[in-house]
């Protein structure tokens, strides 16, 4: 394998359905429905996707949802705030585990 990430993968993503057409079809149909305007607007969903993309550190998703957020009418400031939500949750998730550490310290220490 020549390399692990290639921007052409994003362009060709739909070809993943070739291995299992029915599951592929169902996934992409579901995916399209998820991102349609609903109780949340398509722009809000795109901002959530951008935040999650950073949390799961997927370069394909970051590329795709940076473009999609702009096209849905979000600006850089809104996108950066969405990113900080992911950052806060990731950081907070580490920090809140510190409560286990704290409990152990209190139990074991004098």
């Amino acid at each position: 394998m020549p390399g692990y990430y290639d921007s052409q993968h994003l362009v060709d993503f739909s070809k993943i359905a070739e291995g299992q057409p029915e599951l592929g079809r169902k996934f992409f149909e579901y995916y399209t429905t998820v991102f349609a305007d609903g109780a949340l607007s398509a722009r809000e969903k795109s901002l959530i996707a951008l935040a999650v993309a950073h949390a799961v550190q997927c370069p394909y998703c970051i590329d795709a949802y940076t473009q999609d957020c702009q096209q849905k009418g979000a600006d850089f400031e809104q996108m950066t705030e969405a990113l900080h939500v992911a950052v806060a949750i990731r950081g907070g998730a580490s920090l809140v585990h510190g409560m286990q550490m704290r409990e152990q310290v209190r139990k074991l220490g004098m």
Partner: protein
């Protein structure tokens, strides 16, 4: 010196002494850019390798032949390229230095005579900033007297210039629809495209319009906003964007409007220059081709609009006008010889920039078309 030149001098003096309007760019013409020449713009457009499903593609292949007219509904007048602003994406290459492109009294008189004859129900006045033209009010009065709905394509900041005090009430008395440009409902993207401080001045103009009864649901005081992307991507969904804009503008600034048009940026003039310089040109063209939407064709403005240029020449739309692609009429493309019967029989002139109007949800002077 004839009257035209005296009037023109007054306008350019006002613009030269205006220190309040922010400006984002300078005109291609002032900089002597090769792209100031429309032939060069067409050459650049033709140079992009456009493909669809792995095959080379042209606009006319996807529309399966020439586009044809529907009914003439919109009589659009471009009075010239003078503007108090110089937005980075301007498809007109308008600016305060464009006194070279300015409608003369003689052409204004031809236009007024044609307005009195036309079956079009709407007269749409654009520019540049059309309010700068000394005979703007004559055109509005003539159209209103002929029973037409009148649209003023307004950059909003022009309403704050001292020369235009009282203009909003004057427009309101004549039920003129104000079609105001505002790229985005928040400050950063608006100022990036139109100049630092433009957003705040646009909101100030909207407050004045609201105070005069515009943008409050009265069809005789309609305030339409026009958004276009601040970058190399397509416009957002118009219906969704309108909801979000309405909520945000009212909550943050206490201003209201009646409807929102979302347009795509055409790859011509200053936006074309930006695409090329930012390295986005080929991918943007390819994006427009990929997003080609056959459902957008029926509502395209070229099918129901006559576009009149500052020098009286005629076009299928304002974008063709900016590329010097004249209308295909046997009498020749000039307002003094305009025969409305022939308008219906012509084929519409298209080229690669037309992919901008058929991409995604479509894009025309009346907003999205699909």
């Amino acid at each position: 010196m004839n009257l035209d030149l005296v009037a023109l001098q007054k306008v350019t003096d006002d613009l030269n002494s205006d220190r309040s309007t922010p400006r984002a760019a300078t005109t291609l013409r002032r900089r002597g850019s090769p792209l100031a020449d429309t032939g060069e713009q067409l050459r650049v457009l033709a140079s992009a390798p456009l493909q669809r499903q792995g095959q080379p593609v042209e606009f006319e292949m996807l529309t399966q032949g020439a586009l044809t007219p529907s009914e003439l509904e919109i009589f659009q007048i471009n009075v010239g390229k003078l503007c108090n602003m110089t937005c980075r994406h301007c498809h007109v290459d308008a600016g305060p230095d464009r006194s070279d492109a300015f409608m003369s009294d003689e052409i204004v008189d031809h236009v007024i005579a044609a307005i009195e004859r036309t079956r079009a129900h709407t007269v749409d006045i654009t520019g540049g900033a059309p309010e700068l033209h000394p005979r703007f009010r004559d055109l509005v009065n003539a159209a209103a007297a002929a029973g037409k709905h009148v649209m003023d394509r307004c950059n909003l900041t022009i309403l704050l210039l001292p020369r235009n005090y009282g203009l909003i009430d004057w427009l309101a008395e004549r039920n003129v629809e104000v079609v105001g440009s505002l790229p985005h409902y928040r400050r950063p993207n608006t100022d990036a495209q139109r100049g630092q401080g433009v957003f705040d001045r646009s909101i100030e103009a909207m407050r004045m319009l609201n105070a005069a009864g515009y943008g409050r649901g009265n069809p005789k005081r309609r305030l339409t906003l026009v958004s276009n992307p601040a970058g190399a991507f397509l416009g957002a969904s118009q219906a969704t964007a309108e909801r979000e804009w309405r909520q945000s503008l009212e909550r943050e600034y206490g201003v209201t409007f009646d409807r929102l048009f979302v347009l795509n940026n055409m790859p011509i003039s200053r936006f074309l220059e930006w695409l090329v310089e930012s390295g986005n040109f080929e991918t943007y063209m390819q994006k427009l081709v990929q997003a080609f939407n056959p459902a957008a064709i029926a509502g395209l403005m070229c099918r129901n609009t006559l576009s009149v240029g500052w020098d009286g020449r005629l076009y299928d739309c304002d974008f063709n006008q900016m590329l010097d692609l004249e209308i295909a009429l046997p009498e020749g493309p000039h307002i003094s010889r305009f025969d409305e019967g022939r308008w219906h029989a012509r084929s519409i002139v298209t080229a690669r920039h037309c992919f901008g109007c058929t991409a995604g949800a479509g894009s025309s002077c009346g907003g999205q078309t699909a």
